[in-house]
């Protein structure tokens, strides 16, 4: 018997198993062949298409859509995967509304872009359903590369290097490969264990070994790697989490949103996953939206996103904000946490209204208290555990060109490296491009 939304505190089983299954099903169900044909027919095959320019991995979108039109969706999938080996995941999680689909000329013409993301999923699914890997590995070169981190950047880099015939070992700290694809992305965007299936499929290229539980700075060192490998690619992500400096932030029920999301992704049975009755998420990015929506889907009665600036400044796109709102999440903008109240466990959060004065965010002094038995902190992640010898650019590893760090033989890409948005698709592009650069170096 489900506990219900109004059960007090942080409890599991608020909803029945059926409700949970329905809530966590595919956000965007795959296109059926007829739907794909209709959607593909809308593409104008633009010259030097703006959608391609907007894609961090430069997928030839008009070409792959024309291949769908011409009845060869597997060829379309190959066109995608040649540029972006994680094209399947990107089709599910890319914020297309701010990338390719925002640039689509039919967005300008009619306010309705070609459904590029869903067509990409259709085409890549057609490839993956065959169970065959579409690329061949070149003759082994005998060169070896260490990739640190099996997230999107590391996987993309490893795959491209393996295609060139190099031997790659991926060192991954967590028990499973995939990085944020496995531990971070909204569950309703990556259903049916897609992240692991995609990794398994990617590894069919051959020449890639994954060592899990391998932690840089603990079980392995950069110096040691440089001794044993011809090159090193760092894709260690942002594993640090920013602290919330608010009184009461140490109370029970306050935790990092990324940990909550990871728990949801890894839960064997969502009915056993506890969630608060009144959940408040601090932050305004994609992580905040994902955590808030997941809380609601798990059965929280009230879920509020509290963001200190205006809605326009939120890291989450308007589409993501609307997604949250459509699930019944309340978005409060221009409020910052000043205290979390409660006797041991959180019970209320006190928020202060803010305004912008001369570009500075200042509290107005007016506060509001809302019930909060669970507070999820989504106020950003930071670089943690980067080798000390590497130069930094701000808070990230400094890179030049295609991911070259300050240290010869060491490349970096993905969220840990400076430059680019912290998106799956950007990480794939950086991993791929670093691989091309590493390959050129190994061949020289």
């Amino acid at each position: 018997m489900a506990q219900g939304q109004m059960a007090p505190g942080i409890v599991s089983g608020r909803l029945s198993s059926d409700e949970l299954t329905s809530n966590f099903s595919d956000l965007h169900p795959p296109l059926a062949p007829h739907e794909a044909a209709v959607a593909a027919d809308r593409c104008y095959f633009c010259y030097d298409a703006p959608c391609v320019t907007a894609c961090p991995t430069d997928i030839d979108i008009p070409l792959f859509i024309r291949q769908i039109q011409a009845g060869q969706p597997q060829s379309a999938g190959r066109t995608i995967l040649e540029q972006n080996i994680l094209g399947g995941m990107c089709a599910r999680v890319c914020p297309t509304e701010t990338l390719c689909e925002e640039a689509c000329v039919r967005e300008a013409a009619e306010g309705k872009p070609v459904e590029i993301g869903r067509l990409q999923r259709y085409a890549t699914d057609e490839v993956m359903v065959t169970g065959k890997h579409p690329f061949d590995r070149a003759t082994p070169t005998g060169k070896t590369v260490a990739v640190i981190g099996a997230g999107p950047a590391g996987l993309a880099c490893a795959h491209r290097l393996a295609m060139f015939g190099h031997d790659v070992v991926i060192h991954e700290a967590r028990p499973k490969p995939g990085g944020l694809n496995e531990y971070g992305i909204a569950a309703y965007k990556s259903t049916n264990n897609f992240a692991q299936a995609e990794v398994d499929w990617l590894l069919k290229i051959g020449g890639i070994a994954i060592e899990t539980g391998s932690v840089l700075g603990e079980t392995i060192s950069l110096d040691g790697l440089l001794e044993n490998y011809d090159a090193v690619f760092l894709s260690i992500g942002l594993t640090g989490v920013n602290a919330l400096r608010t009184s009461g932030a140490d109370k029970e029920g306050v935790r990092h949103a990324v940990d909550f999301i990871s728990d949801v992704r890894q839960a064997a049975d969502l009915a056993h996953l506890p969630v608060g009755r009144n959940v408040v998420v601090i932050g305004g990015g994609m992580t905040a939206v994902d955590a808030a929506v997941k809380s609601k889907l798990l059965g929280a009665e009230h879920v509020t996103i509290a963001y200190r600036r205006g809605r326009d400044a939120m890291g989450a796109s308007r589409y993501e904000q609307d997604l949250a709102a459509s699930h019944g999440v309340r978005i409060m903008a221009n409020v910052q946490p000043v205290a979390i109240h409660g006797n041991g466990a959180a019970a209320e959060i006190e928020l202060e209204y803010t305004s912008s004065r001369d570009g500075q965010l200042v509290g107005t002094g007016e506060t509001i208290r809302i019930p909060a038995d669970q507070v999820l902190k989504a106020i950003g992640q930071s670089l943690d555990g980067a080798p000390e010898d590497l130069s930094l650019d701000g808070n990230k590893i400094a890179v030049s060109g295609a991911g070259r760090t300050s240290m010869p033989g060491v490349w970096a890409g993905g969220d840990c490296a400076a430059g680019g948005d912290d998106l799956t698709v950007t990480a794939v592009a950086e991993g791929r491009d670093a691989a091309l650069d590493i390959h050129a170096m190994l061949n020289s």
Binding site: V38, D41, R42, Y44, C46, Y47, V105, A109
Partner: protein, 434 residues
């Protein structure tokens, strides 16, 4: 409100939209539905001689080609003339005509090229009360292999001979339906006129294979692995039909011969175009087969609205209005100079105009870093390809230059007045104006 009532060869119908002789008019049930829906007339599915009717294939009769979103652009058919007994068709025609005296009912006929065959069937058709007959000299598939249909339409002497027989043994209007599967449409039209035809109707369908199955290598439509050319119709054939109609309308020997226009009429606009090129009415088939009889509501309302806007009170007011403007290439005005113009407010920046012009035409469109597309007047020959490939109607237009302006492409001053190829200084073979 415009009056759509049409008098074609003395046959009155409440509007100029007749259903062509084809599958939709094969039997009483369909024809009654058509008349209830509002169609002005029907040319009954072609009748053959008395005796055992023809036998159709039992596999696919149609093939198609599509535009975007599977919009049907062209249809191909290998169905023969009616496969029901003559007697049944005649009885049904008589009943329907009696019940719908205000609608046109025409009998389409295809019997062997023997005088006795025509002499035998014509009195029986006359008994039905049908308003006239249409001689099917057009169908290019099946029946042509038996010396009928387009096999007759391709020999002007046969057309003239059979038409003459019909005029001899039948006292109502005789329409001759022409095949487009010939080199010069003026010849069969003239033959029909010489034989005494009251009108011609065109075009019948065009020889076609719609596609090939790349697994079985059978043409489509495929009957047990084999295909035969069928008759092509639908929106894709309209330009061919318009051209053939115009040739008959402006040809000295056939000018004034009434024409019933057929070939891809899909909307009221198509009908108005056929009529403006000299047709007294139009016949429709593929559009009805694609969307059903209800399209007659749009056809009639649309034509009526356009006529009101233009001040035409009846269809005859604009029959043939475009004919004087159909001319030979050599008489086109070479002093006319236009330039493409892109409306930046309407442009969606797809760049198709650029790709088309740069790759396949005159390199007359520029692209900027922020995707502003502009016409280079010094290169533009006004070919219109950019207009044709632009997805936004009205975004690119052809703007004529005024006399006295300098064409930046040629450096020449645009001349006033008219100068065609026969007189233009660009032509070394030009003759001095007489």
């Amino acid at each position: 409100m415009a009056d759509l009532t049409t008098d074609f060869l003395g046959i009155s119908s409440p509007n100029p939209f007749w259903l062509a002789s084809a599958p939709p008019t094969d039997k009483e049930y369909n024809v009654r539905r058509a008349f209830e829906a509002g169609w002005g007339g029907v040319v009954w599915k072609t009748l053959g001689s008395e005796g055992p009717p023809v036998v159709n294939v039992n596999g696919p009769r149609y093939g198609a080609i599509y535009g975007a979103d599977r919009r049907l652009l062209g249809l191909n058919n290998i169905e023969l003339i009616t496969d029901r007994p003559l007697e049944v068709n005649l009885e049904e025609m008589a009943r329907v005509k009696a019940d719908y005296p205000d609608r046109a009912l025409i009998a389409s006929i295809m019997v062997p090229c023997e005088e006795e065959a025509w002499k035998a069937i014509l009195p029986r058709v006359a008994e039905t009360g049908a308003d006239g007959i249409e001689l099917n000299f057009g169908c290019p598939h099946g029946m042509s292999e038996r010396g009928m249909g387009s096999a007759v339409g391709q020999v002007p002497e046969y057309i003239e001979m059979v038409t003459r027989w019909c005029k001899r043994y039948y006292d109502r209007p005789v329409i001759v339906k022409l095949t487009p599967n010939i080199t010069d449409i003026r010849k069969p039209a003239a033959a029909a006129k010489n034989g005494g035809a009251d009108a011609v109707s065109l075009i019948n369908t065009i020889n076609s294979i719609t596609s090939v199955d790349l697994d079985t290598f059978s043409p489509e439509p495929s009957i047990d692995g084999k295909g035969s050319h069928g008759g092509y119709c639908g929106p894709a054939v309209k330009p061919i039909a318009l051209s053939m109609v115009s040739e008959i309308a402006r040809n000295e020997t056939t000018r004034g011969l009434p024409i019933s226009g057929i070939g891809g009429v899909t909307t009221w606009r198509d009908a108005a175009e056929f009529i403006s090129l000299g047709c007294g009415n139009v016949q429709v088939c593929t559009a009805a087969m694609t969307y059903g009889f209800k399209i007659i509501d749009e056809l009639t309302a649309g034509l009526s609205e356009w006529m009101d806007k233009k001040g035409y009170s009846q269809v005859s007011d604009f029959v043939g209005r475009a004919v004087p403007n159909v001319t030979d290439w050599q008489y086109l005005n070479l002093n006319y100079v236009a330039k493409a113009k892109i409306d930046q407010d309407q442009c969606i920046k797809c760049g198709r105009c650029y790709a088309a012009c740069e790759d396949t035409s005159h390199q007359a469109i520029s692209i900027s870093a922020d995707r502003v597309f502009e016409v280079k007047d010094e290169e533009c020959v006004a070919c219109n390809l950019c207009v044709d490939v632009c997805p936004v109607e009205g975004c690119i237009t052809m703007v004529p230059m005024a006399a006295g302006e300098v064409d930046p492409r040629t450096g020449d001053v645009v001349q006033p007045g008219y100068a065609n190829w026969t007189t233009h200084p660009n032509n070394p073979m030009a003759k001095a104006a007489e």
